[in-house]
């Protein structure tokens, strides 16, 4: 399944967050959306997952127009959003947070939900050690793993990840990104990754999209973006 964004414009009250953006997220890719703080990256993901409505434009998931669907329906269509800020339910335990990701398909396929939870524990063994602990006792990195894990229990075809590196130590970021790359290879899942940490994101991505003040300025091969010094200086600041 390919996600196609066509002429998408999103307003935040009086402020235009995204103006007329068009790009594709090909099946099986890791696509990194990069750009400075305030470039509209989070707003873009929130609109794809149905938390926010676009002012105009279309979002197509293969043939299905998802821009007017409810978040719950978008999850059922296979698109799962892990928002920024290590979003877990802090009042629930690790295992309850993971179970939450599978509640919507429990009646359809309980066995697979159980399997998906076990796979998350294999992927992030530190979560397995802490499964009975409340999520607010976890470290920042563990919380991010849990947030991603909750998303994975839904068995997404497209995973939307918002700033998974935010506020984490470089070593932890490295570990999470390597796990994501490995996960993508083994499952064939598509990942749309929004990041301020352009270098780490582009290293595991196949495709890069650079946002500047709400506009798509570049959509290209990730390696080509990394090797283009002038472009990096202009938009990515390194």
């Amino acid at each position: 399944m390919t996600l196609r964004v066509r002429g998408l414009t999103i307003d935040h009250g009086a402020i235009r967050a995204i103006s007329s953006a068009s790009f594709n997220v090909p099946k099986g890719s890791i696509t990194a959306v990069i750009g400075a703080n305030g470039a509209g990256k989070s707003t873009l993901l929130r609109t794809i997952s149905g938390l926010k409505r676009a002012t105009s434009g279309n979002i197509l998931w293969d043939e299905l127009a998802i821009d007017h669907l409810q978040t719950e329906q978008i999850v059922r269509a296979g698109i799962v959003h892990v928002p920024e800020g290590r979003s877990v339910v802090t009042e629930l335990t690790v295992s309850e947070n993971l179970a939450l990701g599978g509640v919507w398909r429990l009646r359809k396929n309980k066995a697979d939900v159980v399997r998906a939870i076990d796979e998350v524990y294999e992927l992030f063994p530190r979560l397995a050690e802490r499964r009975k602990q409340r999520a607010d006792t976890l470290s920042g990195g563990e919380r991010q793993m849990l947030a991603i894990g909750r998303g994975l229990v839904a068995r997404p075809q497209l995973l939307l990840l918002d700033e998974p590196s935010l506020g984490l130590a470089p070593l932890v970021v490295e570990q999470i990104f390597q796990t994501l790359a490995q996960l993508q290879r083994s499952t064939g899942m598509t990942i749309l990754l929004v990041e301020q940490n352009a270098m780490s994101a582009l290293r595991i991505a196949s495709q890069g999209i650079v946002l500047d003040q709400g506009q798509v300025v570049i959509a290209d091969d990730a390696r080509a973006i990394m090797n283009d010094t002038a472009l990096r200086h202009a938009y990515l600041g390194y």
Partner: protein
């Protein structure tokens, strides 16, 4: 009057405060609305019970009918009124004030409708159990078979709720939606449906509380207004976010007020509840079992 007797006398009314606190907390957690209309909802449900009782003469059928009426009325209030008020509140100030005013207005509407249907006068509500204090080793204690029934019913209701909340996926969804609605939606759960269920659940608890308290207070359109104040005080004692806290708060309040009534006289009871409410809000606004420190986003 010895202390032990005074303490015992407060247990069953405390259990009823617990039920009301439970209903208020459930609604507060799911929608951030303090449901002042709960008193009206509970009275309405109790009138439905009384009507069934008069028609078929079966206490148990009336009890079940009142609980079901509470469930339906609770869901109705959420779907028809609360959902739109919460959605339309655009600023933080209106989001705080609008539901409060709306719920007070709704309480008035409930009381008006009840007056039209059932009249304004106090009516007795029957019970299936003796109301005289039981005797233990020749001594009569201020605890009747009816009090025992009330206590056991509340314990059973709370145990069932605890199992639902802690052991089922519905309970998991309800807890998650209460604390992190956005993450819950992103997990594919229909949070609006979960909210309606929360109000329905709370309405049922209110209906049960109404039937349990009505033999003592009698039933009139406004006869549960005081119960609401006590239930709210219990909820605040427990910290508005903790169901267990609210239940314990109800028991503590029932027993505490019984001591006040026993030693100082009945005219101090109502005032004490308010003084307690204000002192707790001043000294420990997060309640006895409420979250320590500020909640994280």
């Amino acid at each position: 009057m010895n202390l032990l007797n005074t303490l015992i006398a407060g247990v069953s009314i405390g259990a009823i405060y617990s039920l009301i606190a439970f209903a208020l907390i459930l609604v507060w957690r799911s929608t951030r609305v303090v449901n002042f209309a709960q008193a009206g909802q509970a009275a309405f449900s109790t009138y439905v019970g009384l009507t069934i009782e008069k028609a078929v003469g079966n206490y148990w059928l009336a009890l079940i009918g009142a609980i079901l009426a509470g469930v339906i009325v609770g869901a109705f209030v959420e779907v028809v009124v609360v959902r739109f008020i919460v959605k339309r509140a655009t600023s933080a100030a209106t989001a705080t004030v609008a539901p409060v005013i709306a719920m007070l207005g709704l309480l008035g509407i409930f009381q008006g409708v009840m007056g039209l249907i059932w009249g304004g006068e106090y009516q007795p509500y029957p019970t299936a159990f003796a109301r005289e204090g039981m005797s233990i080793a020749g001594n009569q204690i201020p605890f009747s078979q009816f009090d025992l029934f009330v206590l056991l019913t509340v314990v059973v209701a709370m145990s069932i709720s605890a199992v639902i909340f802690q052991r089922t996926s519905l309970g998991l969804s309800m807890r998650a939606a209460a604390f992190a609605p956005e993450v819950t939606r992103l997990s594919g759960i229909r949070v609006s449906r979960i909210r309606t269920l929360g109000w329905a659940f709370a309405g049922g608890a209110g209906g049960l509380a109404g039937v349990l308290v009505a033999p003592t207070t009698f039933i009139a359109p406004n006869s549960f207004d005081l119960l609401l104040v006590f239930g709210f005080t219990a909820a605040v004692i427990g910290g508005l976010d903790s169901l267990i806290g609210g239940v314990l708060g109800g028991l503590a309040l029932g027993i505490g007020l019984s001591v006040v009534t026993g030693y100082l006289g009945g005219s101090y009871t109502f005032m004490t509840a308010f003084v307690l409410l204000i002192v707790i809000l001043l000294v420990r606004p997060q309640g006895i079992l409420g979250a320590r420190g500020a909640r994280r986003a």
